[in-house]
């Protein structure tokens, strides 16, 4: 019934013979391949460093650093907090301006600027960097800043941007509405020589990339601000290595494909080593946060524990499931995430960025309505009624109220 050798044994036997047919020189081929790749990567990094340092082989000019606390508020609302500046809000025109004078420095030797802004996530405001030069004191130049995850991406500037001459003043402009304060820690213009760029490149490669909710779609978003990503560098290094090998052997009758394989596999292993180490670092963090905890304790240890605790109170105010609950919140994330915490109750929420609120006729007696930070639908506790902006009303009794902005009612 059972045979010890599978049906495609003939195939396997053949391939095992192929496996066994390895020449003795294979170790040399692998060493050569890895060596070529290392050389290729070194050349790539050097080219990147030359481009980004403007060819400064020796130490570049001194670095420039300005603490957030040294900035002056021109428009908007905010305050100094030690060495930082906390920008609280834009003005009535949706504008905030922070400016600072700097000891004059040459733009040519400082092609990169960094704004160190602290935020838990990207804020929905336009941020613009402005600067003024000694040569053109009455003219401001500007470049828009972009978020990279939770921080502002470094800005590479050149003469085409107006980044030339001697820089004398800088400013940060915020346009829009700040949903929460923005903390400016510092502004810095690093000294860029080839050595510093090479150091930065390696620093960027080994920087920890945490796993966040967005990792399931764009896990390496942080790489956007890198001088050159590790993948691009390994790929370029591999191409250099393969080209170099081809040149070396152009007069040979045949080439050893194992060397090409070694280049590819070593490149892959290098990339994977970085990823594996990152996974271990993440695992250590995950273990410290969640290991050994119950489901409830894990929720309380999560970033959104405040919402969870609030929804737990709401759950306690509801009868045994399933009851129909209309979850009304203006913010899509709040109503989607909040609803999840209320399942297995029969939760209604509208998907999409704009909340679709029920009209009075759609609410049935016994339905629950959870109002959470919403403007369009209110509750008149004196009259015990839900109130729509057009004045329509629906009688409802209050079950729970948690200021600011959370009310749970039961439709009569």
């Amino acid at each position: 019934m059972w045979q010890s050798i599978a049906a495609d044994a003939s195939v396997r036997l053949m391939t095992d013979r192929i496996d066994a047919a390895a020449p003795a020189a294979q170790a040399q081929a692998w060493i050569a391949g890895v060596g070529l790749l290392v050389a290729g990567i070194a050349v790539s990094v050097l080219l990147v460093a030359i481009v980004h340092s403007g060819g400064n082989w020796r130490g570049g000019p001194p670095a420039v650093a300005v603490d957030g606390g040294a900035f002056v508020l021109g428009r908007g609302r905010g305050h100094r907090d030690g060495r930082e500046f906390v920008l609280e809000a834009t003005d009535g025109e949706g504008l905030a301006v922070l400016s600072a004078r700097v000891a004059p420095f040459g733009a040519d030797g400082h092609p990169r600027i960094d704004f160190n802004l602290h935020s838990t996530d990207a804020l929905p405001v336009d941020l613009v960097f402005l600067w003024r030069t000694e040569e053109r004191p009455n003219r401001n130049s500007s470049r828009r800043l972009t978020w990279s995850g939770t921080h502002i991406a470094s800005l590479e500037l050149g003469p085409d941007d107006g980044w030339t001459g001697t820089i004398t003043g800088i400013a940060l402009v915020a346009r829009g509405t700040l949903p929460r304060p923005l903390v400016l820690e510092s502004f810095s213009v690093p000294s860029v020589s080839i050595a510093t760029v090479i150091g930065d490149v390696f620093h960027q490669w080994v920087a920890f990339i945490p796993i966040v909710a967005a990792s399931v779609t764009l896990p390496f978003d942080n790489e956007r601000s890198h001088y050159a990503t590790l993948l691009a560098t390994v790929a370029a290094g591999g191409l250099f290595a393969a080209a170099f090998y081809w040149l070396l052997t152009r007069r040979a009758l045949s080439r050893d494909p194992r060397i090409l394989w070694a280049i590819v596999v070593a490149g892959w292993l290098l990339l994977d080593l970085r990823f594996q180490v990152n996974l271990w670092r993440q695992l250590a963090q995950t273990a410290a946060t969640f290991a050994g905890k119950t489901g409830e304790e894990k929720r309380l240890a999560s970033d959104d524990h405040e919402l969870y605790v609030l929804m737990k109170e709401v759950r306690a105010g509801l009868p045994a499931p399933p009851v129909r609950v209309h979850f009304i919140a203006d913010d899509q994330a709040l109503r989607t995430r909040g609803s999840y915490f209320l399942y297995p109750q029969n939760i209604y929420y509208s998907d999409g960025t704009r909340a679709r609120k029920p009209v009075p006729e759609e609410l049935r007696s016994g339905d629950y309505v959870l109002l959470f930070l919403t403007n369009d639908l209110g509750y008149d506790s004196a009259a015990q009624a839900l109130v729509w902006p057009d004045g329509r009303r629906k009688p409802a009794e209050q079950i729970l109220s948690r200021p600011p902005g959370l009310v749970l009612v039961r439709v009569r």
């Binding site: 192929i18 399931v216 978003d221 494909p257």
Partner: protein, 467 residues
Amino acid sequence: MGDLIGVAGSVALPWLAGGCCMLALQRRAEQRDMILAAGYGYLLGALATSLAMRALDAIGVRWTMPLVAMQLVALAVVACSIARLRSLPPLRERWQVSRARIADLPPAQRLLFFACLALIAVRLFGLGLELAWRPLLPWDAWAQWATKSRVWYEYGKIAAFVDPATWLESGSGMQFVDAHPDYPATVPLLQVWTALCLGHWDESLINAPWLAILAALGLAFYAQLRRIGIGMAQAMLFTYLLLSMPFIDLHVAVAGYVDIFIAAAYGMAAMALWQWVRLRGRTDAFLAVLCALACIVIKKEGVVWALTLLPPVLVAINRRVGLGVVSLLGVAMLVYLLFGPSELRVLGYTLRTEFINVSRPMFEHFFEMDNWHLLWYLTLGVIALRWRAVFSAATAPMTVTMLGAFAFVFVVFFYSSAAFGVADETLVNRLPLHMVPALTFYLAFLWTQAPARTSGVQSAAPRQAVQ
């Protein structure tokens, strides 16, 4: 400890039932391939589990772990009787044969084999811990997948999920709403099954099937590579390359999206189909059909992925006719995109005839960021080096499959409402993920099997390339 037993049982029982089904499919004893059975076994077992739960639901019986388990055990027993298994497979003998084969490898090959195996084991172990500790994190996981499993687990049956308008109209207490009420139930049912085995709802451990499907994919991939004649060390290396891709691993570490399941199902379907093309075995054909059906019941887009498996069948039967039909289909698609109606709703997407350029985020995510390691560079490199072989008799059906897959991604990305998801980078990696296991197998086949006709690179020993 109880949770560990529960999780182990929730994975092992479907795996056992599916593995037995695989043995029943490979009826002739000399056909049996234990690694292949183990690889495909979990996917088949997971499907069987969801069907068992649907059966109980259909007759109005509340789900309990014993009731579902009994059906799986019954399936395993029936499968074993069909397979005429009256004793346990001679695992020890097989193990000894495998050990002997590994011992016969030259030291460098052996080192490569075990190094890759160790790297895979370390990766899976780490991902398992991450998955076991971390509660549901990504958006879709708790907005449209675990919503269903949470509700169904609570009520012990499949409660209907409806769109918001229906919910507001009906007033029913047992019709629910989430972000995508129309999404298939298969994977949420697996989460419910895991919770039933645990005896309680656990937001972390319900994701155990994600680790299981990754391991199963690795086994199936390795076994299929071996079947096409790739040596043990090379096959293990390719398996490591597949399982080490960051985007695949992160879909296990941050579990909750079903893309990894469709990637596994489509990959296994394509590999089985391509084996059928080579050997014309009924088992492979049946497996390909089962896995294609799995694509359909896992996610709505699975229908299109399954459809990409039809043209290669035609090419396999008659290469000229098949390639002619494929060319006509390509031309028809092009004509449609140029002259068709401006909008058409298909499977939740709006197909547009206006070109939307999303090549920039695609380039960034495939060639700059480390989402896939060197996969896309290798794709270009292997195709460039083996371009003469891509439409050879042996390779044409595989190439046509991959062309269909690429065409699907291309149309969705550049000519549909999903372009927004590519531009804002939420979709740019997820749809290609579905085809990556199949693509990796294709590249492995092309590189190791097809004759190299390029000058300069030794063509005589492509299989010795990594020795």
